[in-house]
Each structure stands twice: as structure tokens, then as C-alpha cells.
């Protein structure tokens, strides 16, 4: 075989992947982008090349709530996920029989289907029959049952807690692995140099795992942005849109109210946000690789 036939073979071999990406990624993205610029009235197309969908979004009073909720969802979720993940990961990195067992057990929330998790938590947090509210009243923390998911001020944070419960284990495991791969000699050298446990964590372990930490932060952010089942099954955006986030609102607008245009416009906003996150990730990665990686 000569060089040029090698090249054709290579193109041929990547063809399926290219086709799949075109069909399932670029195609729908193109559709959403064009839909967002198309006006719909009563489900009928009424002209392309307009920004009415974005204007409608801007004028929609719910959209403001959605933006705030989404910020709580994504930023709160990511920050708590990574912080608890870091704490749990650091604990799991300690060698003991307990942590060895926990390292396997901790993945349980991760392997449960989304719907099962959502339903279980929905009932546990239920105002009348939920075990958590019941426990609160029994212990005396509250006089009457708390409707965790019915309280507009609480509901978003409840969703974040469940989200962290579900997403944190993998973050913890990844960070645990990263912490365990920090050279033991560096930690011992730091002990000799007079660093206490906190200083060793701050000056030796954290810098060594910074690469994994950024990666896991960005990946969590993408997961959380894309997460739909959990909030939709637990609250459906309620009560009164107080837990409506981008993904649920897009779903509601598109598939319940059939406002394709507005739904697509929101998807475009969402996409731009995600691309910014990925861009940031690539920038950070490139910078650390330019400096020769973390090692």
C-alpha cells in the first residue's frame, strides 16, 4: 500500500464517527440554532430570521427566576459537589479497612437510576409523609412538618443537596485517586520540613492534584448543567416555577407548551454557557500543559 491509499483508508475508517457526529450532534444543533431564529404562532412557522424568541425570553418574568435558579443549581451544585468531594476523597485516601470498604460503597448513589433517586428523595422530603420531615418533628427541630419541596425558598437548595448526594461520589473517588498518587516522599519531606496536616494538604497535596481538581470541577459543571431527570421528577419546576431551571424550563416550553422557538432560544443560551465552560477548561489545561503539566 502506498501513502495516498493509506490516507483514504484512514478517512474511510473515521467515516462512521464523522457521520454519527454530523447526524446526532451537529444536525440537531443546527436545527436548534435555526429554530431559535424562527417565529412560531400556534405551532405554525411564521418567518425565519427574527430575534422575537430571544425578545420573548427577555420579556418573560419567569426567565429571571430560571436564570437565578440555574445559577444556584450549577454554581452551588458544582461548588458543594467539589468541596464535599474533596473532603470525602481526602478521607477515603487514608489507608484503613473502613475506607477500603467505603471506597466501593460510596458509588451506590452513582449507580442508582436517576428516576429512582428522584422518586426516593421526593418521598423522603415529602411534607406529610416524608421520613426526613418526620424525623425533624420527632427530634424537636420543628413544630410542624416541613414541606421541603413545597417551600419556594427551600426547594432549590433541597435539589442541590440531592444533586450533591448523587454526583459527589464519583468526584470523591477521582480526587481520592489523585490524592493517593501524590508521591509519598513529597508528603514525608513536608513532614520533615515542619508542615502540619493542614499545611501538607494546602502546600503539597492541593498543588499536586490541581490538574484533577480543575478537570473534575469542569466536568461536574457540565454534568450538572445537563442534568434534567432529577429536578424534573422531583419538582417539575414547581412550586410556581420556584425550582424552574434551564433544562426543565426548556423541556416545559418545548414539549408541554410547544413553544419551539422560545425553547430553542433558551437552548442556544445554554449552549453558549456550556461552550464558555469548556473553553475555560481547555484554556486552563493548555496553560498547565504549556508549563509542562502538573509534574
Amino acid at each position: 500500500m502506498n501513502r495516498s491509499s493509506d490516507r483514504w483508508l484512514a478517512y474511510f475508517l473515521i467515516l462512521p464517527v464523522v457521520a454519527a457526529v454530523l447526524a446526532f450532534v451537529l444536525g440537531p444543533t443546527w436545527d436548534v440554532a435555526t429554530l431559535s431564529l424562527t417565529q412560531f404562532v400556534m405551532g405554525q412557522e411564521r418567518g425565519f430570521g427574527t430575534l422575537v424568541n430571544f425578545e420573548a425570553l427577555w420579556a418573560d418574568p419567569v426567565f429571571g427566576t430560571v436564570v437565578v435558579n440555574t445559577a444556584i443549581w450549577i454554581l452551588g451544585g458544582t461548588v458543594f459537589c467539589v468541596l464535599t468531594g474533596l473532603a470525602v476523597g481526602a478521607y477515603l485516601a487514608i489507608d484503613s479497612k473502613v475506607t477500603t470498604a467505603l471506597r466501593a460503597l460510596i458509588l451506590l448513589p452513582w449507580v442508582l437510576p436517576d428516576v429512582v433517586t428522584a422518586m426516593a428523595w421526593k418521598w423522603m422530603l415529602h411534607g406529610q409523609v416524608g421520613v426526613i420531615g418526620d424525623a425533624f418533628t420527632r427530634v424537636g427541630l420543628s413544630d410542624q412538618p416541613i414541606s421541603f419541596l413545597g417551600d419556594p425558598d427551600l426547594v432549590m437548595w433541597m435539589l442541590v443537596i440531592v444533586l450533591v448526594w448523587r454526583k459527589m461520589p464519583l468526584v470523591a473517588l477521582i480526587l481520592c485517586a489523585a490524592i493517593r498518587s501524590v508521591p509519598a516522599e513529597q508528603i514525608e519531606a513536608a513532614r520533615m520540613d515542619g508542615a502540619n496536616a493542614f499545611q501538607r494538604f494546602r502546600h503539597v497535596i492541593l498543588p499536586n492534584i490541581s490538574f484533577s481538581l480543575t478537570a473534575v470541577t469542569v466536568i461536574s459543571m457540565i454534568w450538572i448543567t445537563a442534568e434534567f431527570t432529577l429536578p424534573w421528577v422531583m419538582t417539575g419546576g414547581g412550586p410556581a416555577n420556584s425550582s424552574q431551571i434551564m433544562s426543565t424550563y426548556i423541556y416545559q416550553q418545548s414539549f408541554q407548551f410547544f413553544n419551539w422557538g422560545v425553547g430553542s432560544a433558551m437552548s442556544v443560551v445554554n449552549l453558549v454557557f456550556l461552550m464558555a465552560v469548556v473553553g475555560l477548561y481547555l484554556y486552563i489545561n493548555r496553560r498547565s500543559w504549556a508549563a509542562g503539566g502538573s509534574k
Binding site: Q186, E188, N208
Partner: protein, 350 residues
């Protein structure tokens, strides 16, 4: 001041005891090398001294006060690790200043001490570089700098030259020795390389299987090894051993050939293991006859293996002999250079 005393140090991992009661005294300013084959417990002993391992029994004291219950950082000991253990995210200056930063020393004082250590180690040009931009020898010097800035009572070195190539190892050996002469700080140094031990130490501690085999000055160990293990371990190329017997005051080999006068203190008819260093065997007109089986000229000296009463025996000489395989020659032992060891226990006789 920095004198170290180890008394009956024991260390067990579960049911396995790896240090069986080690006693060692290190005088202030002394350069002590712990040497022994892999797994002999030398690194464990050093790490116990550093406080990185907790000992199962015994007493460690520096300048007379016990440090067993102190954390590593409170022992006033600095350690240089085999893999340097530099912090990859800190530049040379930060690496060297880290122990001072942990000790809450002021910024200006840190800069001053780091600059001084960098000058001693010729690292002044490298202060802004990161570990990955340095060569192995430079990294090793940074690791030493990090130890020096603390001005500790004792320096510990854990096989610091193992990761360097041969030429650099020789150079760093000289540098470390020079550093010791300059600073005068007590050093406890672990290596498996007996040449490092011989060239650098004031005092060598030979260890095997968690026991101390012998403690002494390099040449004492070379001249009067306490047992067969030390005799074989110290000296390169290694000592030859062969079975022998005392007959008429002579050390006689199994084929009846006379090797040399028997060392004093052996009784007539006693069987023992004779030990002769390759450099103490001389080609002579008379003496035990031997067949040449291997010839290896190294330039400076000639090494050859002979079959001496059935035992392959290495001879090394500075004479330019023209030897061929199969040649028969006669060997004598330099006067007083025949060592005798108990055939069973390996303990030195005579």
C-alpha cells in the same frame, strides 16, 4: 551539637521484626554510613530516626534527650530523599525556603538563608527554575539546600545518589563530603553501595537482616572484617573465600597446596574458611598453583580468575602480565592478608 544515640531499636510490621535491637552511637559532626544489601533494614532505621516510622521498642536520643515521642518536625533533623522529593509546583527558591516558611521565619530572613545555601551549592543561577527544568544532580543539590537552610542538628540521607548516573555519582559523592567538611553537621547516610560507604564515611555500620554486623572506620572494616558477610560486602572486587585447614602452622587448601602461614589463634588441624582479597594475591615463583580460566584487563589493572584448588578465585594486579587461558601460575598471599572465618558461623577467627 548533634550527637545521636540509638539503644536497642526494634521495629516490627505485624509479626515480622525487621530491626532486631540496633545500638549505635553517632558523635557530633560525624559522618556515619549505614550500608547493607536491600531489605537489611537500613532505610527503616533511618526513617525511624527521622520519625517517619514509629519504632516498636528502644530509645533514640539527640544530645542526650529522647526524641522518640517527638514529631518529625520537632526533632531538628533534616532529610534528603532518594527521589529528591522536591515540590514540583515550587521553584528552587520556594523549595529551599519551604521549611523556613513552615517555621514562620520572616520573608527577608528566608531570602537571606536561601541565598546563602544556594551559594554553597552553586545554585544561585537556578533559584527561579522549577524542579523539572533541572538535571538530576541539580535536583539533588536543591534537596540538600532544603536541608541546609534549616541548620539542623543532624542530616539524614536516604540513598541520595541512587538515581544519578555513574559519573555524576562520583562528583556528588565528593560534593557531599565537601559539604560535610564545610558545615561540620552530623550526617547519617544510607546506601547499598559499599564504595560510597568506604569513600565518604568516618564510620560505617554494616547491616544485614535487621542486625548490625559490624561498626567501624572504613579501613578497619576492610582490614579486619568481623565476619564473612562484612568481608564479602566491603571491598570491590569482593573477597575470595575457600575452604582450608591448618597443617604445620600453614593454611592448606583442599588439594594440599599451601596458601600462606595460618593466622594466629588457630589450632593445628582446625578447618576454616580462608578469605583473601583479589588485590592481596600475588603471582610468584612458588606457592599454590592455579589455572587461569578468565582474563579481564580493565586498563589500570588486570583481573583474572583462576581455579585454586577447585574454587574460582579472582586475582587483581597492577602488573601487566601476559596471561592466556589455561596458563598455570603460582599464587602467594601478601603477608598478614589472609583472613580466617569459622566455616559454620562465619565469625572471624584469629
Amino acid at each position: 551539637m548533634g550527637s545521636v544515640a540509638l539503644r536497642d531499636i526494634r521495629k516490627s510490621y505485624g509479626a515480622v521484626e525487621v530491626l532486631h535491637g540496633i545500638d549505635l552511637d553517632v558523635a557530633d559532626g560525624e559522618f556515619v554510613v549505614l550500608v547493607g544489601p536491600s531489605g537489611c533494614g537500613k532505610s527503616t532505621l533511618l526513617r525511624s530516626l527521622a520519625g517517619l516510622e514509629t519504632i516498636s521498642g528502644g530509645e533514640i536520643s539527640i544530645d542526650g534527650s529522647s526524641i522518640v515521642h517527638l514529631h518529625p518536625k520537632s526533632r531538628d533533623i533534616a532529610m534528603v530523599f532518594q527521589n529528591y522529593a522536591l515540590y514540583p509546583h515550587m521553584n528552587v527558591a520556594k523549595n529551599m525556603g519551604f521549611p523556613l516558611q513552615m517555621a514562620k521565619v520572616s520573608k527577608s530572613e528566608i531570602d537571606e538563608k536561601v541565598a546563602k545555601a544556594a551559594e554553597i551549592l552553586s545554585l544561585t543561577q537556578m533559584l527561579k527554575r522549577y524542579p523539572k527544568q533541572l538535571s538530576g544532580g541539580q535536583r539533588q543539590r536543591v534537596a540538600m539546600g532544603r536541608a541546609i537552610v534549616r541548620d539542623p542538628k543532624v542530616f539524614l540521607f536516604d540513598e541520595p545518589l541512587s538515581n544519578l548516573d555513574a559519573a555524576l555519582r562520583v562528583q556528588m559523592r565528593t560534593e557531599i563530603k565537601g559539604l560535610h567538611q564545610r558545615l561540620g553537621t552530623t550526617i547519617v547516610y544510607v546506601t547499598h553501595d559499599q564504595i560510597e560507604a568506604m569513600t565518604m564515611a568516618d564510620k560505617i555500620v554494616v547491616m544485614k537482616d535487621g542486625h548490625v554486623e559490624q561498626i567501624g572506620a572504613p579501613l578497619d572494616l576492610y582490614d579486619r572484617p568481623a565476619n564473612r558477610f562484612v568481608a564479602g560486602f566491603i571491598g570491590s572486587p569482593a573477597m575470595n573465600f575457600m575452604p582450608a585447614k591448618v597443617e604445620n602452622g600453614q593454611a592448606v587448601l583442599e588439594n594440599g597446596a599451601v596458601l600462606a602461614p595460618a593466622p594466629e589463634g588457630l589450632t593445628e588441624g582446625q578447618a576454616f574458611t580462608a578469605g583473601v582479597r583479589p588485590e592481596h594475591l600475588m603471582v610468584a615463583d612458588q606457592g599454590a598453583s592455579a589455572n587461569v580460566t578468565v582474563v579481564e584487563p580493565t586498563g589500570a589493572e588486570l583481573q583474572f580468575v583462576v581455579d585454586l584448588a577447585g574454587t574460582p578465585t579472582l586475582v587483581s594486579t597492577r602488573d601487566r602480565l601476559h596471561l592466556r587461558l589455561g596458563d598455570t601460575l603460582h599464587l602467594e598471599v601478601e603477608a598478614g592478608r589472609l583472613h580466617a572465618f569459622d566455616s559454620e558461623t562465619g565469625v572471624r577467627l584469629g
